[in-house]
Symmetry: C2
Subunit: 409 residues, 2 copies
Amino acid sequence: MYTDVPGQFEVLENGYVIAVDGVIKELCEELPKVYDESTVIDHTNKLIIPGFYDLHLHAGQYLQCGTGMNKQLLDWLKDYTYDLEKDFVDTDYADKVYGRFVDDLARYGTLGSCVFATSSTEGTERLYEAYKAKGIRAFVGKVNMVRNAPDFIIEEVQASLDGLKYLVEKYKDEPLVKPIVTPRFAPTSTEESMEALGKIAKEYDLPVQSHISENPAEVEWIKELYEWSTSYADVYDKFNLYGETPTIMAHAVYLTEEERKLSQNGKVYLAHCPDSNVNIVSGIAPVKQYMEMGIKVGLGSDIAGGHKIQMNEAVVRAIQLSKIKCFYEENNQPLSLSEAFYMGTACGGEFFGNVGKLKEGYELDALVIDDHELYKERYTLLDRLEKFLYVGDDRWIVERYVAGNKITV
Amino acid sequence: MYTDVPGQFEVLENGYVIAVDGVIKELCEELPKVYDESTVIDHTNKLIIPGFYDLHLHAGQYLQCGTGMNKQLLDWLKDYTYDLEKDFVDTDYADKVYGRFVDDLARYGTLGSCVFATSSTEGTERLYEAYKAKGIRAFVGKVNMVRNAPDFIIEEVQASLDGLKYLVEKYKDEPLVKPIVTPRFAPTSTEESMEALGKIAKEYDLPVQSHISENPAEVEWIKELYEWSTSYADVYDKFNLYGETPTIMAHAVYLTEEERKLSQNGKVYLAHCPDSNVNIVSGIAPVKQYMEMGIKVGLGSDIAGGHKIQMNEAVVRAIQLSKIKCFYEENNQPLSLSEAFYMGTACGGEFFGNVGKLKEGYELDALVIDDHELYKERYTLLDRLEKFLYVGDDRWIVERYVAGNKITV
């Protein structure tokens, strides 16, 4: 089961997914004779679905999930986050925490993630290595920040760029784990640093990730910091950081008409982070409206503004928030299950290449779900998928494949 | 750790909980000499907290958790719920499903629950037995419904009352698992059936549970069905079903001033069901306002309008919804962690007697939580509790005690 378009599921019951060298060749009801000698793995009565792709989360905040959730954003950063991020200059500590982080991603079925590490180059290198060891996909970002945060986690512009370039050179040709240009957000950058980052993105043809319009105070701050700008997105755009190369922008709760237009260019992916937007009381992003405008919208757990690393929870919370938005605001419609699933699988997967769909020509990234006999005997395949998304956990996922390779957890 | 009042946690670090015959004798920092010969169970570096008490859920809907969540309420009942509830006349099926249901409650730390079974007397009997076998607390309700639902799950008034009385006589003297009078909700009752239920509640001194004001259409329907009533609560109150004996009313999203006043009598417990209220797009109950008026508010998972049986999820979702309510409506404040925890432990526990607090004179119902070393070395006890509530699951709960007895899962 998978979604090819947001509006509906593709369902093949009791069929075969045929993969050659990690790429899906065809889906069929009967096994063609030509594969008589091939290996057949029997997953009868289980669900085979794409993996999840998390478009926004902070590995350096993983330990902090679910703490300080009743603090205001700035106190939360000050009392918890920055202190924690600082410790990732210690590579032993980074190995311990990132190892657990990457294990948990795989365990919960997140086969690809676009991740912020911290500003530490050495620490970020350990995160690349943790992903490589596990064999799951990632775009790994060393966080570039040069002002408006405590001294102990910002860097001089040149040092920040040098660190980035070192990691880009080291990892740019990796098959699964790749670099991504990562200004934390415009307030911790300067025009100088963003201009340099835009150049690096273009020179190496690298994707970009950052934050945008998470809450109204932040949007106001942008106007003060960049007086010449016509919008938050305009700041990034000015420095070739908004869709010049594939770009993920997290949150996007308050995009103006101008920004929505800029986001339609096909290379911008908005990462909707439902739990985080509630926990930090940011507001509810109008993602259904964005999708109807042809803007690409994926999902992010936003660890640790969001507390759950499980992407099935993000799928569910996106639906729940869309229902609440309908309840309180006119001109909104709730997300359907297939739309939310599409966001977490097909749209997110697209950022990584041909993954996120169980379709000819796509790499075989897949999860095998085994649910309880009492469900199997009573419910349809789609009911069972919905149930997994709403109430399942890692124990329901019995196999994980990335590019046809089995991942061990 | 526990809450004695909603506004704060009581924390004893590296202390002892001393229980004699299942009742807490004292909490202390050093073990008094008099207990030198007593059994000491070492839970060093773990968290000891009260169990959770779920004030509203439907055992007969357990299989349905997380299916049909994008349906409208009436279609959902028609296409899924009623068909499922019907099957509990088959006692073998009831044993299978209820066995799993009660196992899961214990596994996730719900040590007491106020539960709707179905209208089947035989089926409901199996639910009593499942709870007894597990050794956790429950008020078990045979669902009394005599109209406005498909024929195959309603009963004649007399048959419904006879079934209730049979179960009451059989189980009224049980120590942990007790009967509760359970009209499904006023629309499926008649004046005749409610009058009889009110009399039974009074005669046997039984508590009562039902639904109230889940959504505006339902409130309108009540006005049509009971033209003489001044409010939804007034209908129950007329028949001694609103706080004459201890009473749980689920949802209460839209209580009028008159109903709020009726709910202040000290015997009415509102069961706030956050996930359900979102899934079915009912609205967000103003629970903080209710609590400030001195109304008792506990939490319900509302399986299967709610999808998660885990009460830590209900605690978190209550906080999240209170934040959203603040965002959209004036005159609201978010729930603090201690307030939401109090709802799910101390307030819910009160309905079962002296449980829900780790305090002298209370029965020892408790959970022992073991979290990861990386958390223990970094965070305070309260941070670790918050983290368990936000991201923990049953694997973090290493022991469960009910009245001092260890529960096996």
